[in-house]
Symmetry: C2
Subunit: 332 residues, 2 copies
């Protein structure tokens, strides 16, 4: 059996890119990284646990992709350009085939974004993967959660809910319309769940245009709620304007609304921008080859019912949906 | 039961220090960090798993200390000044008492070194703690593993082997001299295992004096081996010059040698410096209030037996000890 050091060397050690901001990569006590002059470092960390964030028998190539994708999504939501990441993981056993496929999925996505693996840690234990990612963003241009302003449009990238729909399929949830959600549809939706696309290019294109941004990992309602809380504003969302994923779009209205509003695992951006910037937002989206949809507006604050977030239908009538955002310790 | 967000807010969110390099801390998609002008960022990540790196019923306050200490030790070995860290962990349950004590131990050590918690992730799962730490070091002054030169002295900070001795005590290993290693001795040695002291001040004081450095986490032989490999040099170590911990010093010679050479969990620095810098090394050690001991010398390369590392006794006679460095996937 390969030792820990041999495994790391074989699958995860590569030469640094030309022109890299990384002065020293894998193989010392620390990596050394220098952001470009005038840039701040944006840092995020995510831990993925078998049975909680992915199935224990998940395809290792998709898993490698997803572990980095969820971190790149955080950089995207900040308007930061990916530079590098560290990878720490515990594994029940040192399986060369599994590690090879995992590294392949991980490093393919890393290469696509010029994001270098600069350090890590491997140990024996229940399957757990922790990535910390580093990007850079010009001083004062980061897309923060506390920057939404009353009157801002609320925008969503891509589409929502297909990842949650795939999960419903795996779980055989009875609310599914079995006639339209067959195995083929589940596989298509499953791609959104297993291999999300971080909206890095969109985040970069929105610098100087968007006010606030967040990535939607725990469901739109919960994540938009963080913007409202940090910015001390309210919002009105048109549930029927939400861009449902292609598979979710074929499901009944109630499921469509619920999964688009509180699905989780979408990894789309929710951002706000002044109404005067609509053309600029659409141009940024085109330059990033990413669809965006206007779904609501930021209000001054709490409405009459004491709720910061009001959800309405296409006719503007308030909806009262029994939905909760995903919270790791309070659900399942 | 408290939600994930409430738990984080209660125990881990604090205001930033005055004059901090951290522009944005916990609570957004990313933290924002700017190293001082002329500085590189030093980055390290370590993952600690219950049952592997600590007992599942470990005292949470000591555990909080240890998780950060092992990361600060990596910064120390690079000569980097601690700035900030991220904390990701999975927990079987959200236990307020446990979290409160864990945060207390963690943040007390963080405060001692001006190291700010800037982000994290919590989730449900088998107990696993992953910290990524950030320090800064002037360009070209980092203490790298590849910088040892033939003729360099080899130095060790503090003392070795008491952490390994404590583990032997917990395991009731038969090689122990029960007359000298009683419960009281085990508790004293256990402090080294449960609450190691990262040699941050010494690492800073050795900038511009030491050539290569590494922290001893997996046992001296294995960790010095990384310096030898990266620097393409050999070494001779006097096993009887090694500074055994106060409890290990009372054990028989064979155990003393084995645990000092390959104990693990020491978190001392092993560094090399030219013989001309002996006074400077001793002055640096005094300024850092940390003992240092000269234990060997760097050679040009492989000796006649093909070994890069030669271990001798006090009389210079080669020792052949049946010891291996700690490797997570090949032991236990």
């Amino acid at each position: 059996m390969l030792s820990e050091f041999e495994l790391i060397a074989r699958y995860f050690t590569r030469p640094l890119h030309a022109g890299s901001r990384v002065a020293l990569g894998v193989g010392d006590d620390c990596a050394l990284l220098a952001p470009s002059p005038g840039m701040q470092l944006a840092i995020s960390t995510d831990m993925l646990v078998a049975g909680r964030h992915f199935f224990p028998d998940a395809d290792p190539r998709q898993l490698g992709h997803k572990c980095l994708a969820v971190n790149l999504s955080d950089l995207a939501a900040m308007g930061a350009k990916p530079l590098a990441f560290t990878l720490a993981f515990s594994l029940p056993e040192a399986n060369a085939e599994w590690l090879s496929a995992f590294a392949c999925g991980l490093l393919a996505l890393a290469d696509r974004h010029g994001c270098e693996l600069i350090g890590g840690d491997t140990t024996k234990g229940p399957l757990n993967i922790c990535i910390t990612v580093f990007g850079e963003v010009p001083l004062a241009q980061a897309l923060r959660r506390d920057a939404a302003k009353p009157g801002d449009d609320i925008w969503i990238s891509g589409s929502l809910g297909d990842a949650r729909l795939a999960l419903a399929g795996y779980r055989n949830e009875t609310s599914l319309d079995a006639a339209t959600f067959d195995a083929a549809a589940r596989d298509i939706a499953g791609t959104r769940m297993h291999a999300p696309t971080p909206r890095v290019e969109l985040g970069l294109a929105l610098r100087g245009i968007a006010h606030a941004a967040i990535d939607i990992s725990d469901g739109l309602i919960g994540d938009l709620g963080h913007i409202l809380e940090k910015s001390n504003v309210g919002a009105t969302i048109d549930a029927d304007a939400l861009p449902a994923g292609p598979m979710l779009a074929q499901q009944p209205q109630d499921l469509r609304r619920r999964f688009a509003l509180a699905g989780g695992d979408d990894y789309e951006l929710c951002f706000t921008a002044p109404a005067s910037a609509r053309d600029a937002v659409l141009a940024a989206a085109r330059s990033a080859s990413t669809a965006v949809t206007r779904v609501g507006v930021i209000d001054a604050g709490h409405n009459l019912q004491g709720h910061a977030l009001r959800i309405v239908d296409a006719q503007g009538n308030p909806l009262s949906l029994d939905i909760h955002s995903f919270d790791h310790f309070t659900t399942s």
